[in-house]
Amino acid sequence: MNEFVERLISFGWREPRPSYDVVIIGGGGHGLATAYYLATRHGITNVAVLERSYIGSGNSGRNTTVIRANYGIPEAVRFYQHSIELYQTLEDETGRDLMHLQKGLLWIAHSELGVRAERARAAINTAFGAKTEFVTPEEIARICPQIDLSGGGVWPVQGATYHPEGATARHDRVVWAYAEGAMRLGAHVHQRTPVTGLLMDGDRVIGVETPRGPISAGVVMSAVGGHVSGLAAMAGLRLPIRSHPLQAFVTNHYQRQFDPIVSSSDLLFYTSQTPRGEMLMGAEIDRQPSYSYRSGHHFIQQTAFRAITLLPFLRDLRVLRQWTGICDMSPDYSPVMSATPVEGFYVTTGWGTWGFKAIPAGGEGMAGLIATGEPPELIAPFSLDRFAKDRTLADRGSAGTH
């Protein structure tokens, strides 16, 4: 398939109805996947997805498309492994080429402490269903010959975990495939429809206010990325979320093939090659909570320095473009997929820097929660009341990078 396949996708835009069974706020991956799985798995099609800009314009279009399951706690490993498996069959299920490519992921350790952390990661992944193994520097050189094992003489490579199911996919196409699939079965997607308020009946959410008129709903779900605290405040709800900018950049074309995704916790950066041949690089979130999409030179400088330490060939490339997304960080670095104390209001948030890989499993889980009223087993630990119950899911495997 070629790039022009986008033109063949048939979206069925319609005018909003005054009332829906389910209104989903946020037309990104998670919102559209929830609509898709409500339609395909539960036969609920009287659903509207409201997007304030165009679909996939928020974090779904700004992430670095890494799909992996090598997390650090049992609940997360099971959840993300299920998501990996859904991604692997998503092209067949939706009939769309998502440019899903299994690349393998190397997570490099440069110190004794790092080696211990990676061995622990491999053990917990293997125990809970993800394929991760510890590899020695010799094996790393075979998997990725471009890596400088001396780490520029400063950060010697001591070992790594190899996660063969690590993959990437084209983010726009994932969003479009879910939107198309949901709309084909009768769900509505309304672009340029911001939610300006929530309609309340006492303590219960009964609809949303939009510039195109009020829309009443049996259930309202927030799949908002970046602005969820303001939306929850409309329902009188406080969330354990702080929104931080996360930057990334790509270089110009690297003329050889670079197979794996390479990460390093010690150096705090990761890189992979896009289908266009560009080297895509990211690092950690900015330290100030902010809604500004401004990118900084400081980030390029720091990340480029770290990347060149491990992958010297990168020094010959040039930075092509840089962008920023707004990440909703939860205190324990795990997502929140849950009903809330406000009746009729559900949230899927806290997707921090790990939202894209979770789109299929997160959407499927939220669809199950809305359709049955009970959280499916995979997402039950990620409820909002875990903070009050002292059941937080602190996950060192998520690292706040990708």
Binding site: R238, R287, S290, R294, G296, F387
Partner: protein
Amino acid sequence: MSLEIDCRQCGRRPVAEFMFGEIPRVPDELTDPDERDLDRAFMHENAEGPVTERWFHAFGCRRWTTVERDTRTDEVIGSAQSPGYPVER
């Protein structure tokens, strides 16, 4: 241009030299002590607009300073040095 924090001692310095410190605000409507504890431990205002916050100049004078910043634009709109700004807490 990355964000610059207006330090009380050192003037405007890059944000990378600082550590962030939120001023937690538990809403007055919450009266139950357990709920107030929970809110103080985990919940955030996460406001979109002007916020007052504390920054620790870790790679500098190692003192705290107070800054008012607009989270929509990352513009510093007030700091401990601004005329008429409330005295440091």
